[in-house]
């Protein structure tokens, strides 16, 4: 603290008596040990290790000692101060740890409190469902094709072998845009996207067509629990050399098992669609009862099978209208409702829940789909 006291006063030297140094040390150590808070320890530090503390004062007096006494006194005081500082540091550490521990205890919260300040968002299952389907096909090397929802009549019907008087045109009751002789419709299926793909991309040996077309379609159905004027379809089209119904079956079996679980396969029944020949209805083995004991199954209602969609070999007339060499290439096509697929995948009772926009519906799905 201060320089050596050359102007020493022999009377003061008595303070450096060993007992007194020890007493001061012991008093300090006792006070340190007795301190129970950091604030108390701070006071103790000032009293016993501060500038005015007995040991500090003693230390200051060492210089006043006769040289022969300095060393011993210096050692004695130094050891005492060292012991006190060590004890202070140790106690400081202890008390800090205690303090921190106490704060952590005091800061404990009820972790069951709600934390829903920010509401959940979520994408619609029709969107994520279509993406799931797209991903299944993209993983097989297919592409996803899209087209406009308001479509030319020729692409929606004629190019797909649905001539003006084809009875099937009444099977799909169509929204026509004004004026009615404009030949523009709200597309009744996503098949015009297939036509567009063939027309614009074409097919060649090196670039066969494998596309799925998910999208929104319209028919003049009254809105109820199982019908809607707007719904969603996914259609698939493969055009390549040597394509057969076996490839169609393989693709749909794969799709079914990816969508509904391992072991879920399809069956074909003869049917009729103008754009395919041969045509088939495709049924899905019921993914709930798996065809075992269907009598009590609410999903397939005793059938063991669920009607899933339509499919077939692309009618060569369609290939012709779309500029594909039907002698060289053959193709298959299929189509199913996304809404319907979701309805039975998730046991939805009412189609309208898809279009009401109730947030409780959409958020319930999380990102499962």
């Amino acid at each position: 603290m201060s320089g050596p006291n050359t102007d020493y006063d022999p009377v003061e030297v008595t303070t450096l008596k060993p007992e007194e140094v020890e007493a001061a040390r012991d008093a300090a150590l006792a006070a340190i040990a007795a301190a129970t808070t950091l604030d108390e320890l701070k006071t103790v530090r000032t009293e016993h290790a501060g500038d005015r503390s007995p040991l500090a004062l003693a230390n200051r007096e060492i210089g006043a000692l006769p040289p022969q006494a300095r060393k011993e006194a210096g050692q004695r005081v130094g050891q005492a101060r060292g012991a006190v500082n060590q004890a202070l540091a140790a106690r400081q550490g202890e008390l800090e740890a205690e303090h921190e521990a106490r704060i952590l205890v005091e800061e404990a919260v009820d972790v069951t409190l709600p934390t829903d300040e920010l509401p959940l968002g979520g994408r619609h299952p029709l969107t994520t469902g279509a993406e799931l389907i797209a991903d299944i096909f993209v993983a097989m090397g297919w592409e996803v094709a899209e087209g406009p929802v308001i479509e030319a009549e020729w692409l929606n019907f004629d190019a797909l072998n649905l001539g003006p008087d084809h009875p099937a045109r009444t099977m799909q009751d169509t929204f026509w845009t004004e004026p009615a002789d404009n030949h523009v419709v709200l597309r009744t299926h996503t098949s015009p996207v297939q036509a567009r793909t063939m027309l614009t991309r074409g097919v060649s040996e090196g670039a066969p067509i494998y596309v799925v077309c998910p999208g929104r379609v319209f028919r003049t159905d009254e809105y109820d629990a199982t019908h809607s004027p707007m719904f969603h379809q996914v259609e698939g089209l493969a055009i390549d050399e040597g394509i057969s119904m076996a490839h169609l079956k393989g693709t749909l079996d794969h799709f079914a098992s990816q969508m509904f679980g391992e072991g879920i396969t399809t069956r074909f029944r003869p049917s009729y669609f103008p754009f395919t020949e041969p045509s088939a209805e495709v049924d899905l083995i019921c993914f709930v009862c798996r065809g075992v004991d269907p009598e009590s199954c609410r999903t397939c209602r005793g059938e063991g099978w669920i009607e899933w969609g339509g499919c077939g070999i692309v009618n060569p007339r369609v290939l012709q209208a779309c500029g594909v060499d039907s002698e060289r290439y053959s193709g298959f096509a299929f189509g199913m409702g996304i809404d319907r697929t979701l309805m039975f995948r998730h046991g939805l009772e009412d189609l309208r829940t898809l279009f009401e926009g109730d947030v409780r519906f959409t958020t319930a799905f999380g990102s499962e789909l």
Partner: protein
Amino acid sequence: MKAPVSWIRELVDLPESVTTEVLTDRLTALGLKLEAVDSADITGPLVIGRVLTQDKEPQKNGKVINWCTVDVGDANGTGEPQGIICGAHNFGPGDLVVVVLPGGVLPGGFEISARKTYGHVSAGMICSARELGIGEDHDGIIVLPPDAGEPGDDVLGLLGLDEEIIEFEINPDRAYALSLRGVAREAALGFNVPFADPAERELPAVDGKAWEVVVDDPVGCPVFAARLVSGFDPAAPTPEFIKRRVEQAGMRSISLAVDVTNYVMLELGQPIHGYDADKVAGALGVRRAREGERLTTLDGADRGLSAEDLVITDDSGPIGLAGVMGGATTEMSETTTRILVEAAHWDAVSMFRTGKRHKLTSEAGKRNERGVDPLLPGIAADRVVELLVEHGGATAEPGYTLVGAAPERPAITIATDLPARLSGIDITAMTTVENLRAIGATVTEQDADTIEVVPPTWRPDINDPYDLVEEVVRIVGYDQVPSVLPRRATGRGLTRTQRLRRRIGRTLAGAGLVEVVSFPFVGDATFDKLGLPADDPLRSTVGLANPLSSEEPAYTTTLLPGLLEASSRNIGRGAPGVALFETGTVAFPADNGPAPIYGVHTRPSEAELEKLVEALPVQPQHLAVVLAGERRRAGWWGAGADAGWTDALAVVRRLAADLGVTLEVASTARMPWHPGRCALISIDGVEVGHAGELHPSVCASYGLPARSAAVELDLDAMMAAATDVTPGPQFSTMPVAKEDVALVVDAAVSVAAVEAALREGAGDLLESIRLFDVYTGAQIGEGRKSLAFALRFRAPDRTLTEAETSAARDAAVARAAELIGAVQR
């Protein structure tokens, strides 16, 4: 198509082992899909009873009931007469009636037991047609003909109540299966058993003498057959089996003459019309109607005819809408004794158009528009004559008029391996030939690999090799198709747009927005609700010629109405707040004229395709957002916050940041937004949409909380501007120097303008700038505001000195002062 199993079995000799279930499974596999199997919901004992005594007992309520004893043979186990109470009065002692004994169950699960009533124990019930579910007649009980059988005989069979009726869903290409002839043929095919074709008949020689017929339009009517019967007893009842079968098919039994024509149509598939010959004046003609001609059809409707309608005429003009429905003037009645029988083959397209034009669906029209076997007219007419003679006491008049002949069918050339190639099933040439012969085709072998096939007359749907393939494969069985994955797909993954759309959806969902899917139909009222001015471009829509609702006759130009409705619905259902988004198509008229219709035998040219696309409405993808009510929830942590204009802009900015798009934001006024709280969003000076608080009137009209906010953006434009490859960001790791400045400016000056000036003045050392406080008040003065900005400076290569930092800050402030008169506080 409803077909009684017993009728099918009559035409095809099915083995006993073929149960109804086996039969329907096989037919479904062949393409006649099972819709339902109907059978009467009755459990016996249901027997014939002979009424022995009938005591009329007046009751206190004024009603008279009959206390009867009825002989039911041994059916009751005792042979003693059965005592039964009956309320009907249309019978007497000696009549044969239908008795259900205790233990029987009638339709609707109505269990019969002996019970005490009107002071007697009534042990069973005498049944009416309605109680048995076979008719509507409830006025009286069924009185059986005297020769119906003996007391105690089971009556289920007699009434056809033990019959199973199969209902098939018949696809448009299988019109032949709209007849028992067709269904039975399929059954024979399915089980490889002989088929007795009911159309095989010996016909009289054609002499044209039945009735004079003049066909002016042989394209519309290639074949016309006419026969005549006389001496018909109009009072003759329809035999039970005909009546039952007609009713089982879902048609009403009307009179013997009408029932017979319907019966033969069900049997063969050929629609037939019977005229009261005494009402027909002169020769029958077939021609197109003349514009302005009218006809009252059998359903009583007076119809204006079109020049495309095929009509049957006599000297008076049109007397029938050919192939679809007969006319009222020549209708058979209870006095008809001479019947002119017409069976004709009609052009299917013409039938379809006429049916559609007159909104007429009839059993005849349904068959004619799908295509009927052209060989049938003469055969069907002959069969009708036979039945009228047999059951109506009529005499067949000599003469058989047949105009025209079945058109020749061209042969189809097909490679014998085509079925194998297209199905993936190992189908031999022999199987191909056999199966084509099995469906009735004539097959001629051309060379080792090719055959020529003439389809059977009843299959107008078969015209192409692929049509033949379906026939071959369905007989082999679709269940034989193996499951093989194609291996050559070489796709390039999702497109840029598809990937971007997914990103956008995820970003918005991550921002707490819920996606909805709504209908795109709108009308004037929709736009009124949005408060759009009369000349707003959004009111110019693509109209629908046949909307579901006259209120919403157009395709939408904005996604907001659907979202606002959904928001309102959520709030109405008790949600404290909603944040919704939707992406979808909106449409604007292109006004480029009608879309062309091209042929289908060759691909349209590029120019033609372009014309097709140009005729379509412009259909951009939009994104819309509505934020209404509580956005941050109130809770134990404190107060919540309602959505407002800032939330709308926050969504837009978050999306832009996510896509790497730089947006410009400026004030604007546009409905349906609050005129002082609407931001115009642009990219590179091009408008892409709006965001802000909704106009109070719009909130009110949708019942949404005040200050609800909305966004609508052109998603195509946003996606086009999205960054594809983000350049690697460069940033300094040197210490940051922070400076805050508060500037007082005119209240009208935008933060963006002040910020831009500061940025410009601060120079390259400025790293970021952020407004952290806005203050207005007396201290600043009326019409002024104080904006506090935090500026962060950093050099790429060194620690900035205080002098450098303050120089940069001062330069920034000076620039703001110079450009917009900002005064540092």
